[in-house]
Symmetry: D3
Subunit: 315 residues, 6 copies
């Protein structure tokens, strides 16, 4: 059975898909239809389901699994599925939602294991305690290990944030011997916590939307609030130098304020500057990897870079 | 006795001044001297004090009052005082520091009275309680009523922040009948608290410097932290809609993020947009007023607007 | 009978509408159709009228009223009317164009009355005479009291410019006690005349288009020309200080030149700075109000701010 | 006798110079001195005149000629004259101000002759009449033929504007055969009148300063006003298509509005686009020529381009 | 027989067209179709060819000529041809590809003749030899005389680059008497070679696409490489001053680096500055001419200027 | 003996220094003096040498060593040496220039050894051969191992470029395991050659100035030329895919073209994006390290970041 990413224009697709978005609309002739986004582990495809029945209206919803038969077409460079048959999955189909979710390349369990091991390498009692206290909150821990790092641009898949965080930690560890002047603990803690506010900004790991807090406060300051709460819980003074430095690295991680990318302060510590570039590097490389994935073209459009990029190493 | 603002090039100045900045330096000939900034209630003037004695080295310091005799000169458009005689003030001089500090036009006591009356007009129990809880902290209250609103640009004098806050509240109250769609309580609270983080960002009302927290976190996020602490103290939920809206207005009050002026989020509430323009209007008008003050020229350079502005209403 | 703003996808609309735009086009099959924009007092909706008859070609035109029966659909977030029956209104329908035009909240007569009263408060004989002379020209007066303040962004409805002007005057009057340093007459005159060039820039109050003068000269300089003509008529010297100051406030009211929003000169008078922010504040708040109007969603897209904004006070 | 431009650091200068700027100041020791700018036909040099006598205070002023003996020094890359002897010129010195003014390469008379001949080539009766009517005003004609095109950047010398205008006309005439689609009369008139507002913006050809009208209205709109006055005088309708097109070319000649260089409207006619680039080309080439003039260095700093430029063709 | 440019919505088109682009796609119903772009000497029109036969799949391709019968429609402001009958041209049709290609106004042969004559006017042996050596390479010469100057913006037709180059040379020759300080040979050589890298950047004169070298290196540096090769061939030292100056003019011809238009260095020679503005002028005027061509509207949208422009001289 | 960096205002400095810049000037009183920049291994200090003798004029020059006795003073935040005694070093002083040059932290020999070892790890025969051929040119190899990476911003000391290159290679090697999708050989070659054009752009390792080629062509394109020459020498085709990719990474290493930092093309390969961020990271961290060096202040101004930065790890 082909995956969505592997289909070409004109291919037939037959198999199970997850409903990721669903909007009920009215056609020109007055009849109702669904505008939906379907997904498997390789990517997404949009579709329209015409002349929907009352039963479909009542039972179809986000995160349900459907069995679909259809033809892949292209509209404005985007794949669309022309549905010919569709039904909700049944218990006897024995299909699990986990198999239809796009995920990080490494398993979530391994990533989590790696993250916990790296935390143990933090020498500073203050920063280690702080990090652990943040992760003691079950909702935070669960969200951190399941949500994507973003809606669209990079690491935009199940547990994408966790993969991003662990990759940054690993990169940082690799570079520390080369830049011995850097405070390692501060950087490890920044890697782990820089996007922690996204656990509140995004509503759900599988069909994420922005929450009200996300829209009004933004993930950078939401992260600072989570850290402040943990610091209080852990008995760390709000004037603690390490705490201040950590918050500075997070508040400045989108680059200089005057670039207008949303930093609340411009980086004034080597660790803040170091982290900013490492974060950019990982985000951009992941975005390019996603654009190339399953794509056999030599030149591929990258939404993050807003230009065509070249797949030099394609098989 | 002339005030500093009233002196012209070549004038003799004779009287008491406050030492606002003091740096000890070494001259070409190896002897030491002071590079100082002196102030009275009308403004500041820089000076060099040559060949300083051991006693002067031991006793001169910031916030001390001196009696000076000198000639005013101009260097690169800035007034400098050529000191001919100088000594520390003596008890019998009977000169008080309050008389040498540049202040708001209205007395601090009246401004405070006005502010407290306006707080009583807040209808929302949540916002009124929040505001009062913030002001219950003595350090915050004292700083709010004494520090300038900034180092240089606008309201850069004793109790300048208080004057800025009260003026904004009064302006908002005046405009509410015209924009009835606005949430009045939210705006009043934003006026009061938008720069509350400056109570931590600046070190001192009379000779202010940026604190470490100010440099690393910035006054916008420092303000959010003060508000979060007060909300907890007052038993207001961190998910409270009014609290979120207030924080949004503060986080966005420097304008759209992509302008690069330091907002952490772009304004998404009418109240946030309203406040941003009111704040800009008051800051710019105050800056222009300060540039005109005591200045009899028709065209005056405004550091905030970075161009010459015209004093149309000069006497 | 529902208004356009109140309809949802799938609703039937039955009633009278005004033809605001009409373009005759040829369909794929060679037959001709109309691409039209219909309006009532609550908003606009686009539609296509297929297989038009010779009679329809001859009689349908802009500003005609039609009786329509159709279904509301959505295409790319925009409402479209699927017309099932349509005919021109008849005398016996007894429907007046005034009832189908989107208008300011306050009546045009009241606004005009208010504007005339405020003009009387101008103390400067020069500025009062100038303002009155501008309004003595019938075409100017009629346009000022009927045209929108713009095509799309804010106050984009019948007599929107008048409402904008009167609101600005009222706001300014409210703030004068707080900023006594300002020249009140100069600001009142600026409020009234800042967009007076739009009376030439826009062709018509009900179905406005840009005129050739509007495209080639722009409303700011067209306004200056109207003022110069009036000044000559009123015997005011072209070197008059008040006239110069008024023109300066108008030429700079789009903000600093280097922002690239079309000011011909950067503001150098406190009155110019004050007016710029007041104008921005009113324009943005009106734009947000229009976006919220009749909209029951919590988050609404604002074309002027180019982001989603939140309807905090929705009923 | 060497010219200022020809002097090097350490050279003695002995001869007549014009006082272009003069500011009376007070030295550290309380004595008064002059801060002055002196000029000859080749350039300017600044100087300080110490311990000035009462007679000097009473008689030295702008546009007076002095006989000077001094040594040239360098301070922050600028030449300064260390004055050893100075006196006002006497009748018997027989020195004329004309010999000390920096001028265009071609004589003002020839330029004026050329300009008048080119005006005769305008075919459009409307545009020819308009241009002639503008030049019928004696003040305008005198200023146009004497003032510099700007304070500092390009053609910043006596009759610089006239030279700039005539060069533009000549360039345009040369290019017309290559771009036959262009309206020649419109472009000739634009060349002549594009900076005509500078005749009001600048106060004086020899020691120019910005006038109040210049600061508040700017030369672009001042030019439009002069043209409107002439059109009325000449009986040309304010709706005349050629008049509108001419005003459009002038209002847009600083380039697209969103670049923030001060155009009131973006160019929408080929003639406007053509003129904009021709004007830039002439201004930049003249600025570079001025930087090279009398300079034997291979690399010279250009204030207009804000970088070092190379003198490839130096002798 | 009408040309494409002359057709209006609803017109029938009957005649020969060139296939400029061809993409094979699958329709919703599973059948295949062609998405094609057709061209004649006046412009292009897109079309869809439904239910294509096996023979069509096998024989239709880029640069083939077809005989078409169809109706012109409009979709999103673009003309589309609703094909009713289509077949490949036959030998007996006696139609030549040259008649279906959009070309420069002057014949390619005349342009080439002109270019060769101007090369002879180069006085510098080095530059003349260099230019001739570049043109000695057959592929370069053929591409230079056939490719468009760009894909879309200006001179986007057969031999457009040649026309652009010759026009620039003619303009430069016309302006040399006015700017005698310029190095004529250097500018002539720059005119000829400034876009020479496009001979590698674009794949084909009739159906051009970007090559891999074009995407990865860009035409500016590709041009430098061609020049370096020619210089070696001609025995010109890589340190030759004229060669350096020529390369500088090419590397800087997109304007100052900090504008972000792709110059590798900012212009530091008068010749570089001169050429930049001349090139802009010619490109913009040609783009406007193309927008006006065959267009009878008063206002036309210009893709290069991104606004509506006015056809003042339309017949 | 103290190093320059270790001196404070008022300290006496006594020892050997290298003359890095020397300008002969004329004082106000007509006597000549030297304006010089002196250096030891820790940094630079400026000085003036008054009343210079004929012998000094004849013998003092750049790269000479002097023995100096003086007092350190501060002028506009810069250290200046008030020279009391000075003489050229004598053979018997037995002082070597190497001891007075600021250098990389690691020895040049070790860096070179490291670089050669890493070159051996390049698997691609093409890229390894290319790199080795570039380094076979003696001038290139010598310059690469001695010049600074820049005049001021980062790695601005003897062999700074070599240190920068080797650090980038080491960083890249460390990150390869984390980003296995990257072409390692391409990145190693880019690290080595990205700034190779600086070997021509800068004139000298000890007292570097920009060469004519540097000013007119810039180091990016100069590097491409060196690589092209080497490719020809090594028999690598100009169409070789690896060569193209390498040149692309170099041409794009200053970031996206529209940022205006001088890239000739925007990055379209993951390797180009990766390298850009790695290069920025190393440059900025080195710049901050240089600012901190020998500085005991908590906050230090960073010329590269244009703000104060914080020395968290100061001893």
């Amino acid at each position: 059975m082909k995956l969505i990413k592997e289909t070409c224009e004109g291919d037939r697709f037959f198999g199970f898909l997850l409903i990721k978005e669903l909007h009920r609309k009215v056609a020109t002739n007055g009849s109702e239809y669904f505008d939906i986004v379907l997904a498997d582990a390789s990517g997404i495809i949009s579709a329209k389901l015409w002349d929907i029945s009352e039963e479909q209206k009542a039972t179809f919803s986000i995160k349900k699994i459907v069995k679909v038969d259809g033809i892949v077409s292209l509209y404005r460079q985007q794949k669309q599925l022309q549905i010919q048959r569709i039904r909700l999955s049944l218990p006897e189909d024995d299909i699990e939602i986990q198999t239809l979710i796009q995920k990080a390349d490494v398993s979530r369990e391994e990533l989590w294991q790696e993250l916990r091991m790296i935390i143990e390498e933090i020498q500073s009692p203050t920063l280690q305690k702080l990090v652990k206290t943040v992760l003691m909150v079950k909702e935070t821990r669960e969200a951190l290990t399941t949500i994507p790092a973003g809606m669209k641009m990079h690491h935009s898949y199940y547990a994408g944030l966790l993969e991003h965080v662990v990759t940054l930690m690993q990169s940082a560890l690799q570079l520390f011997p080369i830049y011995p002047q850097l405070n390692k603990d501060l950087i490890i803690a920044t890697c782990l916590l820089h996007d922690i506010g996204k656990t509140i900004e995004l509503s759900d790991p599988i069909a994420p939307e922005y929450t009200t807090e996300g829209e009004l406060i933004g993930h950078i300051v939401l992260g600072i609030e989570l850290i402040n709460d943990a610091a209080k819980e852990a008995g760390i003074s709000s004037r603690d130098e390490e705490l201040l430095a950590l918050k500075h690295c997070i508040l400045s991680h989108h680059g200089d304020v005057d670039l207008g990318y949303g930093s609340a302060i411009s980086g004034k510590l080597p660790e803040a500057i170091f982290f900013h570039y490492l974060d950019q590097l990982d985000a951009k490389l992941n975005a390019m990897k996603l654009s190339f994935k399953g794509n056999s073209e030599e030149w591929v459009y990258s939404p993050m870079l807003r230009r065509k990029i070249r797949n030099l190493n394609k098989e």
